[in-house]
Symmetry: C2
Subunit: 199 residues, 2 copies
């Protein structure tokens, strides 16, 4: 590693801290940055810091937003009587892309997973419970990913929310078992939404 | 794309500009950044800008450095009578890792490739020619990658530098043909250096 100038080593180490990026990839990205001109690199660095400063989670549904409420929660045209529960913002966006769902969302930011140390209280479940208290919500769609952890989370939610909302449904297993919800194609997701059943 | 807040879209677009990083990867990296805390992201952004400000090419051999001369060129213990020509700084580091070469280097920053529009004058060949003028250099080792473009570059150099240096050698084809020099293991590279022949 002492083959590189210090500032290059520092950068490789910082990039390698990103989850899912190995050492080889960090070196590759660093070389790309070396070859870019300074204004481009500054622009990228600024975009990172700007995003980090501006973006946080919606105080109602926990989706990404720059405001107090996300663009979906603040849209009065959305059906306020349905909440679709998803594991991550990426899953929310996968469903939005079908353009067929017009209710609200609730982003859990994870799945219950004892092996990874993720407990129900680590997710936004308490906040979901509070949203049901107004009595405005008629249906809760559990759109957790069809993985072991996603199913466990759905089961846990269906038990916890029982009696607090008129109807609890689970998206149909049109989504391929074992996969990540966000990689499902739009038609499959649409079929899964249509085929949802009582849970 | 309008599913994301503006600053998130901006960042995804900036990251996707990096060569070799697709749109899906850019989104993945952005999510990682969203989940990191602000001080970590600021640290990464700062490391990028710092590196870009400090690092440039050595004015003698064109390797990466924060000074006028790189750590190899400014090391008086290195054998000043041999120059090893490489395509990229990564190739230089691959050879350094064998710990058996003690001469100097010359980094071309590319390979002659008419198809990609890379001409001899786009590389640091004129600067190499100037380094031979002092008469101090006795041998030029052509360690260009064993690819079509690398071979063409070696052939071009052996013709251009003919008569300007006592000995021109090419590393042996111990390095697997068609591969990138930087991915060769250290022993293979060592063998290739040892088995170099007149060119």
């Amino acid at each position: 590693m002492d083959y590189y100038p210090e500032s290059v080593i520092d950068l490789i180490n910082e990039i390698a801290k990103l989850p899912g990026i190995g050492y080889k990839s960090a070196i590759k990205i660093t070389y790309n940055l070396i070859e870019m001109n300074e204004s481009e690199v500054t622009k990228l660095a600024r975009a990172m810091v700007e995003m980090k400063k501006k973006v946080h989670y919606c105080k109602q549904c926990h989706h990404l937003t720059e405001e107090d409420l996300c663009s979906i929660c603040s849209n009065k045209k959305r059906d306020q009587s349905i909440i679709c529960v998803v594991d991550t913002p990426r899953d929310l966006i996968a469903i939005e892309k079908t353009r067929e769902y017009h209710g609200l969302y609730h982003v859990l930011h994870g799945r219950i997973s004892p092996l990874d140390g993720v407990r129900p209280q680590d997710l936004t479940i308490a906040s979901l419970e509070k949203r049901l208290e107004t009595g405005q919500v008629q249906e809760l769609i559990l759109a957790n990913s069809p993985t072991l952890e996603g199913e466990s989370t759905a089961v846990y939610l269906s038990k916890t929310m029982h009696g607090k909302v008129a109807k609890i449904t689970r998206i149909a297993h049109g989504v391929p078992i074992g996969g990540d919800l966000e990689f499902a194609d739009e038609i499959t997701l649409l079929k899964a939404m249509e085929g949802r059943h009582d849970y």
